[in-house]
Symmetry: C2
Subunit: 449 residues, 2 copies
């Protein structure tokens, strides 16, 4: 169970208000790292800047590792360089590289030059944050095939990593190329003079440093790996990614998809984000949608005379457009998720399109019938009901088709299907819906009054 | 990198067509477990039923563990009971319990009675699939505090679990109550006669068997745990959950949220699901939306005379409704995700509502101004533009408010905010949008012709 930090927060803020830092530090120190970070994140900026340097270095490092990236960078850049450097020394190298990457190049350089072991961090900084190289830590222990189990244990004893959790040990040959993996259990159970090459599994799954973090996450989850080695083009072991980094990636990718589907372009936003950031992440999409909805208005304008003669059409045009949009959105969600989880393959595209057209047709007939009957009972006009029912059948069939065509199409051009699908699909179902309904209606205009 | 199974599939199907099972089995056997399952899932039902019993038992077990739950259950129930029992014997107990839970009670009972060790699986079947108890495996090694490191290693040697990956070892007292955790590294490095109680960390995080899988996943990700022990009300150790189960939970929960936001109620659906299942998971939502859109039509019907006099209103009413809906959906997505990730606390609700009203106001003014100017340039009617602009300001402010009020409100009644928010919010923004725009317009009717 996650510790409830709400009540501690009040007491912590009280202590800070009285400048009773000893009490504040004590309240934090009894908590576990992630809880410290959660509590710390709730404090005001000034309180954070004042408190962090007073904490134990390893606690400060844990907190900076666990804070959201922008927040950690903001906090770090408010501290004296010497203080940041001492804290960064205690951080896991991959997290340290992420933090330095979020500072200005000048600040990062200044901190790097003050680190105890800058070479543990510097090489990690060249990799983009969202690549396998950006996720990996350079802090790993590489065994050699001809070591004995006892020598491996000795190496493990001498090695003193910042993180205690080790899941597998990797083995490299003379050229430092990855050649095997040993799990800790088999090392424990081995006779002391067993060679590492007898313990290791040579069939080791690895990723290249340049691949995208999402692909890396998929590989680890597909093979249920708690850690994966990262190699360069020639197969040299460069680092290790552990499952906790991957969980963050999966969460981030899911958030990104959910946000993109809802037309929010910055997945760091939440309901408490600053007003300026929210406007920036949301307004462009609303403008884009305004454009497409004005196009839909233009479609309607071609039928202005029809509506003037039968204003009742204005009541139901949105039902047709909206239900087409809903059907399409269902398909977009399913397609985006199936693509993200690698559940559909390119060669099934045609089969999917055909199936979804028929699914849409059936949904359209079901919805069309019920709505037509309902509207007949309400308005008593058979022609109106018929036009509405037929338009729903048409728009739901096409909507369903468009709802898979657009995301699959975007994906095949390597465009993130979550990002653009919603706008395109809504534009299509709105315009098609208005057009189908109003042009059908204009044929039966004399019966609609 | 994940093995590309597409090309192997063609060869595999060829082999099966020629009834060349040896070749087919060989093609599968050279692959890793998850790849075998991926490839296997692509085969027709009859091919699966024919092939599975011919495979090595442990390969068959891996495949059944990795297939989607419904697919695994369908396959298993087509096999002879004796065959399923032999395969289930090789499965991890938590996966075996899941599989048996998806069979009919008669089938499950019949398989259980044929297992080598039914008591490893039976107790797991009483827990709901989506609780911590449903995720845990009963296959764990519990150490005792007064064991020496050497005795612990001996116990580890005698223990022969179906899964090789062990991340931590848990320690229980005489009453089998959980009292500590030992990581493998410290066991490797310990002197043989060190007591387990000296090696263990007594501050061990655990979850109760009854808690929801999502809360369990949050606890593990919050504390970066590769495994978490499950205890009963009295603290007795009952099982262990490993991170790979949690990754699945996180993926499932994200899929569920994405689907619910798009009004798809069955998150097992994908674009290739059977037509009947899709209709079942999608049609109820379309009916519900039809109802709300007919309510919106009724709102418009109160202004039918107004529209009859100024048909131009029918062009722009949907712009107001739609943009309010888009703004609200942005808020829903942010709120649902922030709630899922535990990023907002109940005490910030009022602050969020106030902020979101102002964000909506600003978005409304920005969108309203641009759309009003655009429509003025198009139609040349200042009053129309003004009414449209003001209606946009109103509907976007209210839409933004509703977009957080609804999910936060649902959450505080313990209703899944993703499930119902979309429908409620769209119903509100449509009806409000039409009402605001058309009632404003009716005041300026004489200027709108």
């Amino acid at each position: 169970m996650i510790v409830n930090t709400e009540e501690i927060l009040t007491r912590l803020q009280d202590a800070l208000e009285r400048d009773d830092f000893d009490a504040a530090i004590h309240m934090l120190e009894v908590l576990r790292g992630p809880d410290q970070a959660k509590l710390f994140a709730e404090l005001d900026d000034e309180e954070q800047v004042e408190l962090l340097p007073k904490l134990d270095l390893s606690d400060s490092a844990d907190i900076l590792e666990d804070l959201d990236d922008p927040e950690a960078a903001k906090l770090a850049s408010s501290l004296p360089l010497e203080t940041i450097a001492r804290i960064v020394d205690e951080m896991e190298p991959d997290k340290a590289a992420d933090l330095l990457g979020d500072l200005t190049p000048q600040q990062a350089q200044a901190v790097l030059s003050r680190l105890d072991d800058p070479e543990e961090v510097r090489p990690l900084m060249i990799h983009p944050d969202d690549s396998a190289g950006g996720l990996m830590t350079s802090e790993f222990l590489a065994l050699r095939p001809l070591m004995t189990a006892q020598e491996a244990v000795e190496a493990l004893r001498r090695w003193n990593p910042d993180s205690e959790d080790i899941y597998y040990l990797f083995v490299v040959d003379q050229e430092k190329k990855l050649c095997g993996v040993v799990n800790l259990r088999s090392l424990i159970l081995a006779a002391p003079n067993t060679l590492v090459q007898e313990l290791m599994d040579p069939d080791v799954i690895s990723v290249r440093a340049g691949i995208d973090q999402e692909e890396c996450a998929r590989t680890m989850t597909h093979y249920d790996l708690a850690a994966i080695p990262v190699v360069d083009e020639l197969g040299h072991l460069m680092g290790v990614i552990t499952y906790d980094d991957i969980v963050d990636v999966l969460e981030d990718e899911a958030t990104e998809d959910i946000y993109h589907l809802a037309n929010v372009s910055n997945s760091d936003l939440d309901p408490e984000s600053s007003t300026a950031e929210q406007i920036k992440g949301r307004l462009p999409w609303l403008y884009l949608n305004s454009l497409t909805s004005l196009f839909a208005a233009w479609v309607i304008s071609n039928f202005e005379q029809v509506i003037a003669q039968a204003a009742v059409l204005a009541l139901f045009q949105s039902v047709v457009a909206g239900q087409g949009g809903n059907t399409a959105s269902q398909n977009v969600a399913m397609a985006v998720r199936a693509l993200a989880l690698g559940k559909i393959s390119p060669r099934s595209f045609v089969r999917i399109l055909v199936r979804q057209f028929f699914v849409g047709l059936l949904l359209g007939m079901s919805v069309g019938t019920v709505v037509a009957v309902g509207v007949y009972l309400w308005r008593g006009n058979l022609y109106l009901s018929l036009v509405l029912g037929l338009a729903l059948v048409g728009n739901l069939s096409l909507g369903s088709l468009v709802g898979v065509l657009v995301p699959l199409g975007l994906q095949s051009f390597n465009i993130d299907p979550a990002l653009a699908s919603s706008v395109l699909v809504t534009a299509a179902t709105d315009s098609m819906g208005f057009f189908i309904f109003l042009s059908l209606a204009s044929h039966f205009l004399q019966y609609l009054h």
